[in-house]
């Protein structure tokens, strides 16, 4: 029974936020953070523990895997775009990954976070499955990494329209994929096929590059 509770509660909160977005043209509430806040509120109010909710909820989390596999479809359909923008893609992702690690290091030192925290934070811009493994492998705190991954994805998606306007960004999908991983990709999917493709590439390549560079980051920054 509880399986249906978690799934239904998630669907209802999601539909509720979507209907608000549809009714009021000016409001664009984030469709991940606001349904989650409603659910947390309901769980607290009725004193239901997270495990009860997650009996159903984790089936939705499990679908992220086949959905990620399915991202091969826009990649395949837009093969030509990938070839055309190969240098832009590679260069931007390399710079993005380096600046990401570097800025975390500098900010962490300024804010007096310790070595373990730096290792915990650096994997945050990659998709949660990679981030979790990386964090554990290098002695970080897995739970904090996963929470940061999600928050990064949502925050990145939320500020993206503003950044695109201010910096006249053309490759919106790429920025979303590199900066906000799978959550950013889900935002880019709503734009068009090209941005979805670029976001997917950003997501995958940032992940791979972070896996490769992580030992170096740990050596240099801790």
């Amino acid at each position: 029974m509880m399986i249906f509770f978690g799934i239904t509660l998630t669907f209802l909160s999601f539909l509720f936020i979507q209907s608000i977005n549809k009714r009021f043209n000016k409001i664009k509430l984030d469709v991940i953070i606001f349904p989650s806040l409603i659910i947390v509120g309901i769980l607290y109010y009725f004193n239901i523990d997270f495990e009860t909710y997650n009996q159903g909820g984790h089936y939705l989390s499990m679908l992220i895997q086949p959905a990620t596999v399915a991202l091969a479809i826009p990649l395949y359909k837009n093969k030509k775009i990938i070839k055309k923008y190969a240098y832009t893609i590679m260069g931007s992702i390399l710079m993005g990954t380096l600046i990401h690690a570097l800025s975390i290091w500098i900010l962490s030192i300024l804010l007096k976070l310790d070595r373990q925290m730096i290792v915990t934070i650096i994997p945050k811009s990659v998709t949660s499955a990679i981030a979790k493994d990386l964090s554990v492998n290098f002695g970080g705190i897995q739970e904090i990494t996963v929470a940061l991954v999600i928050v990064t994805g949502i925050f990145g998606s939320m500020i993206s329209p503003f950044l695109f306007k201010v910096f006249k960004v053309k490759e919106k999908g790429l920025v979303l994929g590199v900066g906000a991983h799978a959550v950013g990709t889900s935002t880019a999917i709503k734009m068009n096929e090209k941005e979805a493709t670029m976001a997917t590439l950003g997501l995958i390549l940032t992940g791979l590059l972070t896996v490769i560079l992580m030992p170096l980051f740990v050596l240099l920054f801790t």
Binding site: S36, L43, I64, P66, T68, L71, E143, L174, V178, V183
Partner: protein, 117 residues
């Protein structure tokens, strides 16, 4: 029938990715390996777009809702987060913003150079 067939194909690639992950020495998630396998299977015409497209597109278009339970899960680690909450938020905001600006500016720059091609 088509829906069931397509779901099976996607699940096979998901499982395949998870299996390959076990024998790789570096932490790459199974879903990313499955993605690569599906891409090459399409590219080498082992399977057609028609074998995956309807279900695949449905899944990828509805990814947002799949992240909701993971976001709710943050409430369970809030006690650990609380210790460094302000610093963590500041580092998150600063590094994410800087990274996205970097990618935006670098891609604008490289894009201009690539246009003549």
């Amino acid at each position: 029938m088509k829906i069931i067939k397509q779901s099976i194909v996607l699940l096979i690639f998901t499982v395949l990715g998870t299996l390959i992950k076990q024998i790789l020495p570096i932490p790459i998630p199974g879903s990313v390996i499955g993605l690569a396998c599906l891409y090459f299977a399409l590219d080498f015409k082992f399977i057609e777009l028609d074998d995956v497209e309807t279900v695949g597109t449905f899944l990828k278009d509805n990814m947002a809702i799949m992240f909701v339970p993971l976001t709710v899960a943050i409430m369970t680690v809030f006690d650990t987060l609380k210790l460094n909450l302000v610093q963590l938020i500041l580092v998150m905001i600063g590094s994410t913003t800087l990274t996205m600006i970097t990618v935006g500016l670098v891609s604008n720059f490289l894009n201009k150079k690539e246009k003549p091609l």
